[in-house]
């Protein structure tokens, strides 16, 4: 753990050498905040020690204190990172324990789900740890485990997903990622972040040669299974569009699937507005079937997705104008 903050910096012998630098808010300040005395005092000492450009173990103490009260304080994080890295190189190396730093971050991340800075700092720490190649495998496993723990609380946390992608790419840790996504989608087939990660895993690591036909077939089957469970799940249909676009297959290759969920000749049996939307695009591309496209869009506007009636009518207008 970090050394706990002093009850009072002014009275603590390890801090009395510093002259605190109180905040000058000026006259007519905007967006003034009712700071606690504890925050004001810690900030005054932070400013004082920053002004000296000091990189000593006590910097870790005051920065941890500030971070606890304001984890979105941006300069404090870089100051802490520079101090850690500087201590690692110095005789005080023992004061900078990167494993302890990660545990500090774990605790903060769990309590401050929406914070950006924690994850930037984590990248810095993990990069520093990667300087020891023999430890990288274990570290990456543990990092994946921690992000998994975060996803159990919120499977759509943007910062955590961004970090996971960075981790996987940085350490070429692609193994097991598809199975990981399979697990998340089994728990919640509407988790769009998991679908997005799937796309990243399938297409993010390939070179110029692209993915093989068997992968494309498998992914189409994954979508088929997903929309069978939840026909109205936009995430799965969007993934299908993305997949087909990426590998250059025409949308018409899934016309049959769409008709299963949106039988145009039997509107009462339609169960997916997204399938209708896809059909509208498929038929709009065929001159002789534009009437079917218009019909799909009219069904969307009037019955299956009326909140977007203006949009569906706009689409129909474009097709009519082209005719």
């Amino acid at each position: 753990m970090n050394q706990p903050p002093p009850d009072s910096y002014a009275l603590d012998p390890s801090w009395t050498d510093l002259v605190p630098l109180p905040q000058d808010d000026g006259e007519h300040p905007l967006a003034q905040i009712a700071y606690t005395e504890e925050y004001s005092e810690a900030m005054s000492y932070l400013r004082a020690i920053m002004a000296k450009n000091e990189y000593t173990p006590r910097v870790l103490q005051v920065t941890a204190h500030i971070i606890e009260m304001n984890p979105a304080h941006y300069t404090v994080w870089l100051y802490r990172a520079k101090t850690l890295l500087s201590l690692l190189q110095s005789d005080d190396g023992a004061a900078a324990d990167l494993g302890r730093e990660l545990r500090f971050l774990n605790d903060l991340a769990l309590r401050h789900q929406k914070n950006y800075q924690i994850w930037n700092h984590r990248q810095t720490v993990v990069e520093a740890m990667a300087a020891a190649p023999e430890l990288v495998g274990q570290m990456v496993r543990e990092e994946k485990q921690f992000t998994n723990a975060m996803f159990r609380r919120d499977g759509k946390n943007y910062h955590v997903w961004s970090y996971r992608q960075w981790l996987v790419r940085r350490f070429a840790a692609w193994a097991g990622e598809v199975e990981f996504v399979d697990g998340l989608l089994a728990a919640d087939v509407r988790n769009n972040s998991a679908w997005n990660h799937r796309y990243f895993v399938i297409f993010g690591q390939q070179g110029e040669e692209g993915v093989g036909d068997e992968v494309v077939e498998r992914e189409v089957r994954v979508v088929e299974d997903a929309v069978f469970i939840a026909p109205q799940n936009a995430s799965a249909w969007n993934y299908l569009r993305g997949l087909l676009g990426k590998v250059g297959r025409p949308l018409s290759s899934v016309e049959g699937l769409c008709l299963t969920y949106a039988p145009l000749d039997n509107p009462d049996a339609i169960t997916s507005s997204h399938a209708l939307d896809l059909l509208a695009d498929i038929y709009a591309g065929r001159k002789e079937e534009r009437a079917k496209a218009i019909k799909a869009l009219e069904l969307l506007a009037a019955r299956y997705d009326p909140i977007r009636a203006n949009y569906w009518n706009y689409r129909a207008g474009i097709i009519k104008a082209a005719a």
């Binding site: 967006a31 003034q32 905040i33 979105a72 992608q165 297409f203 936009a234």
Partner: protein, 404 residues
């Protein structure tokens, strides 16, 4: 039988809310935004400007005092700090720990314009010269400048938008402002970065392969608009048709279960009767067959949130396609589901959620884009009132002077 009250914007309450934010101390809870005080200041000033009472409910002396305060947070080397919290006074003069911050600089300029300042004291050249130093090789921008040439902070669209807004404001009409001898940013690099962050869903994300996100999409479209690269035939986006589908898909009908807290929802899902669960996910339709309430989410299959009513509507307005959304559904979502009885807007339609500065501004801004009666019109790109923008573009230095 009483007739239901028609939804209305409670203007006096909002005015009161914003005057309180502007003139009294914000609660301790705002400590986590301490380093973004110039951003908070922008929301307070711009909100009163939208309400049309910035110049009537505050005195000239107050406004001048706030202008001076903003300039006090301008660094001698150009650019603005995020908050007086990093001001190290004489001891830290030129310190890397009191850095210029890109969002703060952008919001400071917008606030000065809104307050009626002529921007005569803005270190325009220095700030413009800072921008290329803040740009990374991939075209993105950092959040702040960490001394020794270090570009710090995440590399997502928020900072791209802010950097481009600064550039647009300071360069003036067709670059007739302060450009002489100033090295420009890599514009093609910015466009390339935005294109690289367009996801397979065709919204914009934080980086290649990231998840499409409406806030980041707004920032990207705003940057393209200010760079003159948003036209349908331009190359800033894969296609307008693609992004329009994604943007319009963000509007979703309200469900009764949206008004539950996470704990209540969990309880209903696990212990509720089948009837309760069905009722919780039933859309209410009006006589016209359309859902009565429909706000916006920021990502596919996420819940509605007040701020996305602005991020999505602002994006569509810049693309001249705002008419494709359902105005009534959005308006009623904001006025009946997230407008707070004390003024301001809450983030979520969950009863008991307090209003906050960000969401209170975003709610007003979304209504202003839909031309709500009683609100000034909003420029969707700069996010300031049309009047404020008019003042800016009519300043001499902006129109035709090469000011040194």
């Amino acid at each position: 039988m009483s007739t239901p009250t028609p939804p209305a914007l409670h203007k006096p309450k909002h005015t009161k809310y914003w005057l309180r934010c502007l003139k009294t101390c914000l609660p301790t809870d705002y400590t986590s935004t301490d380093l973004n005080r110039l951003t908070l200041a922008f929301f307070c000033v711009a909100a009163l400007d939208l309400l049309g009472c910035l110049h009537t409910e505050t005195t000239e002396e107050e406004r001048n005092g706030w202008i001076d305060w903003l300039y006090k947070n301008q660094l001698p080397t150009g650019g603005f700090r995020g908050s007086p919290a990093t001001d190290l006074g004489d001891r830290g003069s030129g310190s890397a720990w009191d850095p210029p911050n890109i969002p703060a600089s952008s919001f400071a300029l917008a606030t000065l314009v809104s307050l009626g300042d002529d921007m005569g004291r803005v270190k325009k050249r220095e700030l413009l010269e800072l921008l290329p130093k803040m740009q990374r090789a991939d075209g993105s921008f950092g959040e702040w400048f960490g001394g020794d040439g270090q570009i710090v902070g995440g590399n997502d669209m928020r900072f791209v938008y802010c950097a481009i807004a600064i550039r647009w404001i300071l360069r003036g009409r067709e670059g007739k402002g302060v450009v002489e001898g100033v090295q420009d940013i890599d514009v093609e690099g910015v466009v390339k970065f935005i294109r690289s962050a367009e996801s397979y869903e065709h919204g914009i994300s934080d980086k290649p392969f990231g998840e499409a996100h409406a806030g980041l999409t707004y920032c990207a479209i705003g940057a393209l608009s200010l760079l003159g690269r948003l036209h349908p035939t331009s190359d800033g986006l894969s296609s307008h048709a693609n992004i329009l589908r994604w943007l319009t898909s963000r509007q979703v009908p309200s469900l009764p279960q949206d008004e539950l807290t996470d704990e209540q929802f969990e309880k209903q899902a696990t212990q509720g009767t089948e009837q309760e669960i069905t009722a919780g996910s039933t859309i209410t339709y009006g006589a016209d067959g359309k859902p009565l309430w429909a706000g916006f989410n920021g990502r596919c299959n996420k819940k509605t949130d007040t701020c996305y009513s602005f991020w999505v509507c602002g994006s569509l307005d810049m693309m001249k396609k705002l008419h494709l959304i359902d105005f009534n559904g959005n308006r009623r979502f904001l006025l009946e589901k997230t407008q707070h009885f004390m003024g301001g807007f809450a983030k979520l339609p969950v009863p008991g959620t307090p209003p906050d500065i960000l969401h209170s501004f975003m709610g007003l801004a979304s209504l202003a884009l839909m031309r709500e009666e009683g609100l000034n019109r909003l420029d969707p790109t700069l996010c300031i009132s049309m009047q404020a923008k008019e003042r800016l573009v009519n300043m001499d230095w902006w129109k035709d002077a090469a000011v040194v």
